[in-house]
């Protein structure tokens, strides 16, 4: 029973995430495409640009949406005209995948390096305990004698 409930919960969560994405793919809005595409002359997203080519691109996108094109189709047509640089995010395939993978690999490598450094550090420092790190193993004779004298006076 609980397993069925858990399955239904996972399915409904997955649908709640996937359904809007699918709707956005089939029926994109001008506003979301303006955020995902770049004006080639000003290098900002279309929603932040009012240059002549940005205005023309917005007009083109509105026309393609009205014609029933999907988001991918509109992007493909614009990439065909202006190249990959028109996308505000690099595609997740081919050589451009490196743009996504490299930061993750870098972060992973940094985490591994920090972990290895921490592990090595903890091993070379030895066990932490009373008298091991705070105090030296032996005091100079003169100082030791003085400590003994002070302790004797304190006890006496």
């Amino acid at each position: 029973m609980s397993r069925t409930f858990l399955g239904a919960l996972v399915l409904s969560l997955a649908l709640s995430v996937c359904a809007p994405a699918s709707a956005s793919e089939r029926h994109p809005t001008l506003a979301e495409l303006e955020r995902e595409l770049v004006c080639p002359t000003c290098q900002t997203t279309l929603d932040q640009s009012d240059s002549p080519i940005a205005r023309r691109m917005k007009q083109y996108i509105a026309g393609r949406i009205a014609a029933g094109d999907t988001k991918s189709e509109i992007k493909e047509k614009l990439v065909e005209q202006f190249g990959q640089g028109v996308l505000s995010e690099p595609p997740r395939h081919g050589f451009a995948l490196l743009a996504w993978a490299l930061p993750l690999l870098g972060a992973g490598a940094a985490a591994l390096a920090l972990g290895a450094l921490g592990w090595h550090w903890s091993r070379t420092r030895g066990p932490v305990g009373v008298g091991t790190a705070a105090a030296p193993a032996s005091l100079p004779p003169q100082l030791e004698r003085r400590v003994d004298e002070e302790l004797a006076r304190f006890d006496g």
């Binding site: 080639p40 002359t41 002549p52 080519i53 023309r56 083109y60 065909e80 005209q81 202006f82 190249g83 990959q84 640089g85 390096a113 290895a116 450094l117 090595h120 550090w121 070379t124």
Partner: protein, 174 residues
């Protein structure tokens, strides 16, 4: 061992920062510099029919290389002048070549029809050739001599008849 790892990490961090700074300086130094010397080669598709144009195919002729876009207002002003120059100099071994950049190919075709442009027009949608020539706006015009070197003035803005004739003569002489 720890000291060695720490030193290595510090050196890697310094090298990474130095590399990024060098990249930034290089980008700033090169982004606005117009091309000089040997004209950067390219092969680009024609806007109005199938096929491509390779700059190297014009070796032995003087080339007027004009960067433009259909949405550029001054390009409308100079288009008839370029067309007239293409006709005037055709028999002397001069080619006018238009590079439409950062533009819809359909818009470029309509522009060419509207201004009755008959000289070859190619499409540089991604703007790679535009970047290699250091073009920062439209229109911009370069003159290339018979040996493939950029000569004369680099004209930013609409080109005049006088500028066209003077620089073409220079390109033919060189």
């Amino acid at each position: 061992m720890v000291a060695r790892i720490r030193l290595g990490a510090q050196m890697a961090a310094v090298a990474a920062v130095a590399g990024l700074l060098a990249l930034l300086v290089w980008k700033l130094a090169h982004q606005t510099e117009p091309a000089r010397g040997v004209a950067p080669g390219f092969t680009l598709p024609l806007i109005d029919r199938s096929g491509e144009v390779d700059l190297a195919a014009f070796r032995g002729r003087a080339v007027v290389l004009n960067f433009w876009a259909s949405w550029c207002i001054p390009c409308k002003e100079e288009a008839p002048r370029l067309q007239a120059a293409a006709r005037r100099w055709a028999t002397r071994g001069v080619v006018v070549l238009g590079i439409d950049s950062q533009d819809f190919r359909g818009d470029a075709r309509r522009f060419a029809r509207r201004y009755s442009l008959t000289y070859p027009l190619v499409h540089d949608g991604p703007g790679k050739t535009r970047a290699r020539y250091g073009v920062t706006g439209f229109p911009e015009t370069f003159f290339i001599d018979r040996r493939g070197n950029i000569v004369g003035e680099h004209i930013q803005g609409p080109v005049s008849d006088r500028q066209l004739d003077e620089n073409i003569k220079l390109a033919l002489r060189a």
